[in-house]
Symmetry: C2
Subunit: 149 residues, 2 copies
């Protein structure tokens, strides 16, 4: 049921072998079990941690903070409040991140629509979109979204 070779743990978690070793080295994964000969054996619990790290990493948490969380969890049950707070703060940052990403995605879509309104490739001599993308002397990028202030 539990006890995975490094390659198996890598395959299941999606992290590379080097990354697994690195995570152990810097104290994210602590005390991974070993065979008599010194080779790592990952448990289901380790894999659970890796799933969490993937989640936190994908949402942009810096490693230092993951370390802090992992350390708190190792310190015992009296740190649950702090762990909860840490995750909540992170969640708030993720929400902000999602809002920003959505906003910039909308800008990107607008820009794409600009290209889609162009009169197809090689429009002939009339070229009727000067006001949107001026190509006169040195002007190249005219989707001059109003800037702050």
């Amino acid at each position: 049921m539990s006890g995975y070779a490094p390659s198996e743990a890598a395959r299941r978690s999606g992290f590379s072998l080097d990354t697994l070793r690195y995570y152990e080295k810097i104290g994210l994964l602590a005390d991974v079990e070993r065979t008599a000969g010194g080779q790592r054996v990952f448990t289901d619990d380790d894999l659970g941690w890796l799933v969490l790290f993937r989640c936190l990493r994908d949402t942009g948490m810096p490693i230092a903070q993951m370390r802090r969380y992992a350390q708190l969890a190792r310190d015992g049950e009296h740190t649950t409040d702090e762990r909860h707070e840490l995750l909540c703060h992170h969640a708030a940052r993720v929400e902000e991140q999602m809002r920003l990403l959505q906003r910039q995605y909308d800008h990107l879509r607008e820009k794409i629509r600009f290209y889609e309104r162009l009169p197809a490739t090689a429009p002939g001599p009339e070229a009727g979109h000067r006001h949107l993308e001026r190509v006169s002397k040195p002007s190249t990028e005219a989707s001059t979204h109003a800037l702050n202030e």
Copy 2:
């Protein structure tokens, strides 16, 4: 109307002075105007580009690709198809990114809810959540989300 000092351009775009110089050096911003004495003068067009770069950067486009886009735009109107395609591919990657972020955010929320179902700090001797976060010998992280395969 146009003609901004470096500090003003930095303030308006949100990029640092160093970043503005860097972007020019690597060919993102090409041929920024200069005073007789050699100091930069940014135009509204430059600021328009910077807004676009902010959008692309915030959505995770690597600088090499931004360079490519900028170069295409400088190459003239016959590159609009390629530019359009480049942005569309990028938009698709952004959509994937948003889906992933949302998924991992949901996981994070679930984890937070786990903490919120705990019987508050210092629950006394009964401690009734062993099955959710085993704290026996070496087990620390039990939200063992099923892994792939």
